[in-house]
């Protein structure tokens, strides 16, 4: 299979060297969503970069705002949602940066980004494709729109893409309906659709959650392969730490609309500084753990967004919470290294938390 030409040379995967200007730079992004009960601050001031050719994982429980963050990058919020503050700078092919938040969400400019520069694959491969159109009917118009190809060339491109994502007999299957594919195959079709116009950023919103474990692994392998070939940047949204370990270069942990910890995957797994990150890591079952060890669960529930705790959002559930500090003062973001942030008053004292969180 012939890899499609890369738009520009990319730094090799896995090297520590980071491109000087990130593909996307998000600064102090705030998203509000109106509900029957009032405004929810779904994303509450997040700052992060998506580096070129690398994978950033956003990890969090449901309701942490990770999906909304992903959609905000395409300015694709539900009708009740709006970007309240912050900026999302996307550096286009011509090197000029566009602030996505400033674009009309229904306008021509953002629409020429969607699908062409930034693509999305979502959680439910079963529902992400129209049930009454064939795969070809859904792929070909998108290719024609963004790449300006003739119908024939667009069809050839669609077949090529289906082949690349590992769908057998792609030319025949172009005329099939989504329900004629299995879940894993359908997610492959979604990936083909998302990558058909050679985007530079892929937002993958829990793409493997609805799939069984084997299929999950296949899809992740496929994404990594496509990333190597195309120099794609991936924003991978998940709650599954196992997946994070496998695919991430960088990790951002979200809790109640805020990024509580950010760092490379090695840093997050080897030296977690935020109590929430530690608790998450401890709640993952491990091979080789003794028979008698209990799987740790984070006590309590995610607070209602209307009823945020005073001080640090996490303190009611935190084992290391300090009375008089954590329940009254917002810790703010503490930068402890290059691209390494922690939202905790104890961020600089790994020992203190380490000791407190034992047991």
């Amino acid at each position: 299979m012939r890899p499609i030409p890369m738009p520009e040379p990319m730094p090799a995967h896995g090297t520590a060297a980071v491109a000087p200007s990130p593909l996307v730079a998000v600064a102090d992004l705030k998203v509000q969503i109106g509900t029957d009960d009032g405004l929810v601050r779904a994303v509450d001031g997040v700052t992060f970069d998506v580096p070129r050719g690398r994978t950033l994982c956003i990890v969090g429980e449901s309701g942490s705002g990770k999906s909304v963050t992903g959609r905000a990058l395409m300015n694709l919020l539900p009708p009740s949602g709006r970007i309240a503050a912050g900026s999302i700078l996307y550096s286009g092919r011509d090197g000029e940066a566009v602030d996505v938040t400033k674009l009309d969400p229904r306008g021509r400019q953002i629409r020429s980004l969607r699908g062409k520069e930034i693509s999305l694959i979502s959680q439910e491969p079963m529902a992400a494709l129209s049930p009454v159109h064939t795969i070809g009917q859904q792929l070909v118009p998108v290719i024609r729109r963004h790449l300006g190809l003739s119908k024939k060339a667009a069809q050839a491109r669609a077949v090529e893409m289906l082949g690349r994502v590992g769908i057998p007999r792609p030319a025949e299957r172009l005329g099939n309906y989504p329900f004629e594919f299995s879940g894993g195959m359908r997610q492959r079709v979604c990936i083909a659709l998302a990558l058909s116009c050679r985007p530079r950023l892929l937002i993958a919103d829990e793409p493997t959650t609805a799939l069984d474990v084997t299929t999950q692994a296949n899809i992740i392998d496929l994404l990594q392969e496509l990333q190597r070939e195309d120099g794609l940047s991936i924003l991978f949204i998940t709650h599954d730490l196992g997946v994070v370990a496998e695919i991430a270069d960088d990790v951002a942990v979200m809790y109640l609309g805020k990024i509580v910890e950010r760092g490379t995957v090695e840093q997050i797994f080897a030296d977690p500084r935020h109590p929430y990150t530690r608790a998450l890591l401890k709640s993952v079952p491990r091979l080789g753990a003794g028979r008698g060890t209990r799987l740790a669960a984070i006590r309590g529930m995610v607070p209602s967004p209307f009823d945020r705790p005073k001080g640090c959002d996490f303190h009611p559930r935190c084992d290391a919470a300090l009375k008089g500090i954590c329940n009254s003062v917002d810790p703010g973001t503490v930068t402890i290294g290059p691209r390494r942030d922690v939202r905790c008053v104890l961020a600089r004292e790994p020992a203190a938390i380490g000791g407190a969180s034992h047991g």
Partner: protein, 379 residues
């Protein structure tokens, strides 16, 4: 065991959320229902109509059969306030009398409002004696002419000089009760067949579903007409009433059966039903203690929405003259008088019972819709 598995809400949850999580299903439904202003208002309209139907003898100024030949097709009299009669006495409410003249050319009687004649109208007026709820003898009416010998036609009079308002109020009893009784029968059939269909599945389900498909695919009115026409004409009115209800229910159960079956099918696979089964509960117990309570709210909504179609069906049949017949008074029977364009141009107020039909059906539809929306409290 039970205290370990009982779902508990963690301490950290805010009081409001805690109340939400622990509120009973019905409290939640009612709370959501009340947010539907229109549905909530309709609840009171519906209750009001049923109350009027129950106390028809008291609410109506006259009995449905009392007539006054002098006022054939007498037009409605407007209820006015604060008027002085010939004796110089001021009344809070009154109606003007009518002067009648006979037009020998058109062979028509014309009524002219006589501003000078003031007939007082009072609450708790003394009138024809009756038995309230069939038990308590009384002779007071909620509203009526101060002088029982004077006519008072607030909604006009019909061909025989009977009060359309009183007849509409009495008609509510038959029309609204047909809805209730008919839906009760439909509900019984629907629960039985829908439940059997959904619970057992397989070929039984297939047979019941085919029956429903069949019944739904034939136009109801012609079938009803055919069946209703076969009801002997000389039958006792009460029996005719029952027959008509049964005929209407023969079709009406299908929708309810669909709802029941659908809920049964989706519930069958729910964890708590499986748990009850694994615990060794008997089939009866699983159905009645575990499955039925969890879909009563949906049933209540469907039932509420089924009542208006029953009312409309009865109205249509009686209107055509093959449902209920005089001397029974229902809204359809009353509307039959308005069938000819001649009668209609003379006395358009004969359509007034139609307004009652529309209000009742509208209120029941709003109510049913509100209940249905509220029925999924966690949605």
């Amino acid at each position: 065991m039970s205290d370990v598995t009982a779902p508990t809400v963690p301490e950290t949850v805010a009081p409001a959320a805690r109340r939400f999580a622990e509120a009973s299903q019905w409290t939640l439904i009612f709370r959501r229902f009340r947010r539907h202003k229109l549905a909530y208002a309709s609840l009171f309209v519906v209750l009001g109509i049923y109350l009027v139907a129950l106390l028809a003898e008291f609410v109506a100024p006259f009995s449905p059969d009392s007539y006054n030949a002098r006022f054939t097709y007498g037009p409605p009299q407007t209820l006015k306030f604060f008027g002085t009669d010939a004796a110089g006495e001021t009344h809070f409410m009154y109606v003007n009398g009518h002067r009648m003249s006979f037009d020998p050319v058109a062979l028509k009687r014309t009524f002219v409002v006589d501003e000078k004649s003031v007939h007082p109208v009072v609450f708790f007026a003394k009138g024809e004696p009756y038995k309230l709820l069939g038990l308590i003898p009384w002779d007071r009416h909620l509203i009526g002419p101060g002088d029982p010998s004077q006519p008072m036609y607030l909604w006009g009079a019909d061909r025989l000089g009977r009060d359309v308002l009183s007849r509409t109020i009495h008609g509510a009893r038959i029309s609204m009760s047909i809805g209730l009784v008919g839906v009760a029968i439909s509900l019984f059939l629907g629960l039985l067949l829908g439940g059997i269909s959904g619970y057992y599945g397989g070929w039984i389900d297939e047979v019941v579903q085919r029956c429903i498909d069949f019944l739904k695919s034939i136009p109801t009115i012609p079938l009803w007409m055919g069946l209703a026409a076969a009801v002997p004409a000389n039958l006792d009115p009460l029996l005719v009433y029952l027959w008509i209800i049964i005929i209407l229910s023969l079709i009406g159960w299908t929708d309810l059966a669909r709802v029941v079956r659908g809920r049964f099918l989706s519930l069958r696979t729910e964890d708590f039903v499986l748990a009850a089964r694994l615990d060794g509960c008997s089939r009866q117990r699983v159905i009645w203690r575990h499955m039925v309570p969890s879909f009563t709210s949906h049933i209540v909504a469907s039932v509420t929405l089924a009542i208006p179609s029953m009312i409309l069906a009865e109205t249509a049949l009686s209107f055509l003259g093959i449902g209920l017949k005089e001397p029974v008074v229902s809204w359809g029977v009353l509307l039959k008088d308005a069938q000819s364009i001649l009668a209609l141009t003379t006395a358009p107020w004969l359509l007034a019972p139609g307004a009652a039909v529309v209000v009742a059906v509208l209120a029941l539809n709003f109510l049913g819709d509100g209940i249905r929306d509220a029925a999924d409290p966690y949605a």
